[in-house]
């Protein structure tokens, strides 16, 4: 039996007095798109950070393709490609140099690194970003370069935190096509996002996290339960869409 691409059990993380992740369980089936959604501060990035080994969990289990992520770090790192949100890059490198550096870290041969980097730069429309120091790149270009470095070593599990943030629509369409080909080829993609439309379009399964807990999980259609995912999401996190009351000074007749 093929093990889940990512399996999380009873994951807990507390920062000072704030319990950011409170007993999260998550199962990502291999060869699927899995979306993680939740309001700001819900614990999505912390969960993803723990899954890829960038945040230490207080307790819980994480398994990647059958390997214990906390004990077999070398193996799980080799299997995973990561795009974290809000972390720095080696800012003095150009985009192309970042890809060469990343390939070197992963032990790719020089020829393979050069070919793959050139292809990714071409496909993702990174010609300008490839020659620009990362410190001077736009947020969208940094996202695309981050995605390119995550794909470079052909991982089996791709974990992406807000991959479409600040990316232009044309590039977003390209990225979606690349990711679909990756999953069609047997890879697994976990992504966190605020876009319910994106989850409906791309994901097979979705996990809704709110206040550090999983409030719904399963196939997208099942979680949506007949309505749009956005409406269902608002309902799940227990928040009325605010904005319909108050602000009379703004909306009143002048």
């Amino acid at each position: 039996m093929i093990p889940p691409a990512l399996e999380i059990r009873g994951l807990v993380k507390t920062f000072a007095a704030h319990r950011a992740v409170d007993g999260v369980d998550l199962t990502v089936h291999p060869g699927t798109f899995h979306g993680i959604v939740g309001p700001n501060g819900a614990g999505k990035s912390t969960t993803i950070g723990m899954a890829v080994g960038l945040v230490t969990p207080d307790s819980g289990e994480i398994r990647i393709l059958g390997h214990d992520a906390l004990r077999e770090r070398g193996v799980t790192r080799a299997l995973t490609g990561v795009l974290p949100d809000g972390l720095d890059f080696p800012e003095r490198l150009t985009g192309a140099e970042l890809l060469r550096y990343s390939a070197g870290l992963r032990g790719l041969s020089r020829a393979a690194a050069t070919d793959r980097a050139a292809e990714l730069i071409d496909v993702l429309g990174l010609t300008k970003g490839a020659g620009t120091p990362l410190a001077d790149c736009s947020t969208g270009t940094r996202k695309k370069l981050g995605l390119a470095q995550a794909l470079l070593h052909a991982p089996r599990l791709l974990v992406l935190d807000e991959p479409f943030e600040a990316v232009d629509p044309v590039s977003a369409a390209t990225i979606r096509r690349v990711l679909r080909r990756f999953v069609a080829g047997g890879g697994t993609c976990v992504l966190s996002t605020h876009s319910m439309l994106l989850v409906e379009q791309m994901c097979d399964d979705v996990t809704v996290i709110h206040q550090g807990r999983v409030v719904a999980a399963g196939p997208v259609a099942e979680v949506a339960a007949g309505s749009s995912l956005e409406d269902r999401f608002v309902e799940l996190v227990g928040a009325e869409t605010s904005g319909s009351a108050g602000l009379d000074w703004l909306t009143g007749a002048r």
Partner: protein
């Protein structure tokens, strides 16, 4: 009656020329009203200018030329370091204006001339005609013309420097900042050698200075009226030529900026970046480590603060060893390399903080921690070894009578410790800069404890060689190179092991600390004596006291009598001999080290102004 039509274009041009000057006048008026800094700077500058004029009345002609040159050079360089470009009208401001290159350049230079720096400099350079007054009226007029030419040279030079070199945020500005601070610290550390030389210079310039001043433009205005007439005309013509060349260069620069975008910022092409040659000479190193070495070397060449630190270390080391020559002491010359290496190690003790959270890349790669540690250390070694060797060899060649063995054997020990221990220290004490993408000269990811640990490790690694040189039997001399190499290798192994342990076991803590951008409030020391502050901050005060006074038993009371045989006045061990001298010297070093260590412990335990001593780190989303 209306203005004649033929004069209208001229009036328009003159109006366009006057625009930048009017803008500059408004800016200056506002800055004088809002901030006391420029007024204070003006008063200090005027005092210095008055001293120069007073010196010119009776002082030495060549020394005066040297001082005038230093003044003009300072006028060009200092704004680059101190952010003097703020509030200036720059060519880019005129990009959208319908104005040609020549009127724009004239207007911009006219605007540059409005300010405290140019006004005070004009007063200071009046020292030249004042000095020439003893040679008659014609001499005064000629020298005054020369002084104006020097002033124009400073004015245009400063404008060019600000445009081309940029400010301290750019690589060239960072290098200049490093050179300047290294020079200031080097001179401060060699005051004992510099003061006597300066006193001699002020009385009468030594022959070598006299010879050199024949080639320095700031010496020409006075030389033109004291030598043969033909030579004087040549000197003044050369001065006019230099100013004309500068003006032409500035005109070209202004034209380029107005016509196009920002100049002098070439973009690297994709093809060049992808096809960049691999580091074949590091073929024996694992690929992952090689990748980190490549990243680090690029960062050293491009990161403004790293460049600044490196330039500082080189200049500081070279000056500490070289300035004593002014007092005919060449004993330290072979130590230029070791001193620069030690400085580079100290300045590398906070590099992880400069890189922000970029550590996540190795932390998500198999074996990434080991590659990160070794790559950082190896890149430092690749960069600093040639500098250390070059400076040491230069020192040895310049001081053939000094025995260089101790310096040569200490060098590998310092290199081994300097490459690896700062990596550990910077992983241990992460002080992230506010914005890793665009750091400013004000960002400083290093604190005194990190610097002391990095420096101390170098001294510990060098200790076996120094101990054998001082106390070892003469037969042990041939073994010194081996001892130095072994000490360096041991220090390298030790530092790498510590850094490995830190990053492998606590890598995520390091990453969390690197992401802690909101730095806790710094301990603010009172600028003057404040008994109340000292009563309320006893731990901090004790720590500062111990860290300051602790060096006295170590260096003057311990190292100087033991290593250099210096013993006079207040040096206790200097009044003793034989075993008693050694014992007292060693006891003094022990006492000083204990005081410094106690100071470090207290400094770490001092209460933080913002709350706890060690802020919690982490991230939540």
């Amino acid at each position: 009656m209306s203005a004649q039509p033929s004069l209208a274009p001229l009036a328009d041009t003159l109006g366009a020329i006057a625009v930048p000057a009017r803008m500059r006048t408004t800016m200056l008026r506002r800055s004088l009203r809002e901030h006391p800094g420029p007024t204070v700077a003006a008063l200090v500058g005027l005092l210095a200018a008055a001293w120069l004029i007073r010196y010119a009345l009776r002082g030495d002609q060549h020394t005066l030329g040297l001082l005038a040159g230093a003044w003009v050079l300072g006028w060009i360089v200092l704004p680059l370091l101190l952010g003097g470009g703020r509030g200036r009208v720059r060519p880019a401001h005129l990009r959208l204006e319908p104005i040609g290159g020549v009127p724009a350049a004239i207007g911009l230079l006219a605007a540059s001339a409005i300010g405290i720096g140019p006004a005070v400099s004009l007063v200071a350079l009046a020292a030249l005609p004042v000095h020439a007054a003893r040679h008659g009226t014609v001499a005064v007029l000629v020298t005054a013309g020369g002084a104006v030419l020097l002033w124009l040279f400073g004015l245009i030079g400063s404008a060019i420097a600000l445009e081309v070199v940029g400010h301290a945020g750019g690589p060239a500005g960072a290098l200049l900042t490093g050179v300047f601070t290294g020079t200031a610290m080097g001179v401060a550390g060699s005051l004992w050698a510099v003061f006597p030389w300066v006193s001699v210079l002020l009385v009468a310039a030594p022959q070598e200075v006299v010879r050199a001043m024949a080639y320095v433009p700031s010496g020409w205005p006075i030389a033109a009226v004291t030598g043969p007439t033909g030579r004087g005309v040549g000197m003044m013509a050369a001065l006019v030529g230099i100013v004309a060349l500068c003006a032409a260069a500035y005109l070209m620069l202004v034209r380029r900026v107005i016509a196009a975008g920002v100049p002098f910022r070439p973009r690297r092409t994709t093809a060049a970046s992808l096809a960049a040659p691999d580091r074949e000479w590091l073929g024996w190193v694992p690929a992952a480590t090689r990748a980190v070495v490549g990243r680090e070397l690029r960062a050293w060449m491009r990161h403004p603060l790293r460049l600044q630190y490196l330039a500082f270390a080189v200049v500081y080391g070279a000056l500490l060893a070289g300035l004593p020559l002014l007092s005919d002491v060449d004993l330290l010359l072979p130590w230029a390399g070791p001193l620069a290496v030690l400085g580079a190690a100290a300045m590398s003790a906070g590099l992880v903080g400069l890189d922000g959270t970029a550590l996540w890349l190795p932390l998500t790669t198999p074996g990434g921690e080991r590659a990160e540690v070794r790559g950082r250390a190896l890149a430092w070694l690749v960069l600093v070894t040639p500098i250390g060797v070059l400076l040491t060899v230069a020192g040895v060649l310049l001081a053939p009578d000094v025995d260089p063995l101790a310096a040569l054997c200490t060098l590998p020990a310092l290199l081994g410790a300097g490459a690896s221990v700062p990596v550990w220290v910077s992983l241990l004490r992460v002080r992230p800069v506010a914005d890793p993408r665009h750091p400013t000269a004000a960002d400083n990811p290093t604190d005194i404890v990190s610097v002391l640990v990095a420096t101390g490790s170098g001294l510990v690694a060098a200790a076996p060689v120094l101990a054998l040189v001082i106390w070892g039997p003469s037969g042990v001399t041939p073994l010194l190179p081996l001892v130095g190499l072994l000490s360096g290798a041991a220090a390298w192994r030790g530092g790498i092991w510590l850094a490995d342990e830190r990053l492998t076991r606590r890598g995520l803590d390091v990453l969390a600390a690197a992401g802690q951008r909101s730095r806790p409030t710094e301990t603010v020391l009172p600028p003057t004596w404040d008994a109340q502050w000292f009563r309320e901050n006893k731990l901090t005060a004790w720590a500062l006291g111990l860290l300051t006074v602790g060096w006295i038993p170590v260096i003057p009371q311990g190292v100087m009598p033991l290593a250099f045989g210096i013993g006079s006045g207040w040096i206790v061990a200097g009044h003793l001999s034989g075993g008693a001298r050694t014992a007292v010297g060693l006891a003094m070093i022990g006492l000083g080290v204990a005081m410094l260590l106690a100071g470090l412990v207290l400094w770490d335990r001092r209460p933080q102004p913002g709350g706890s001593a060690h802020p919690a780190s982490g991230q939540a989303e």
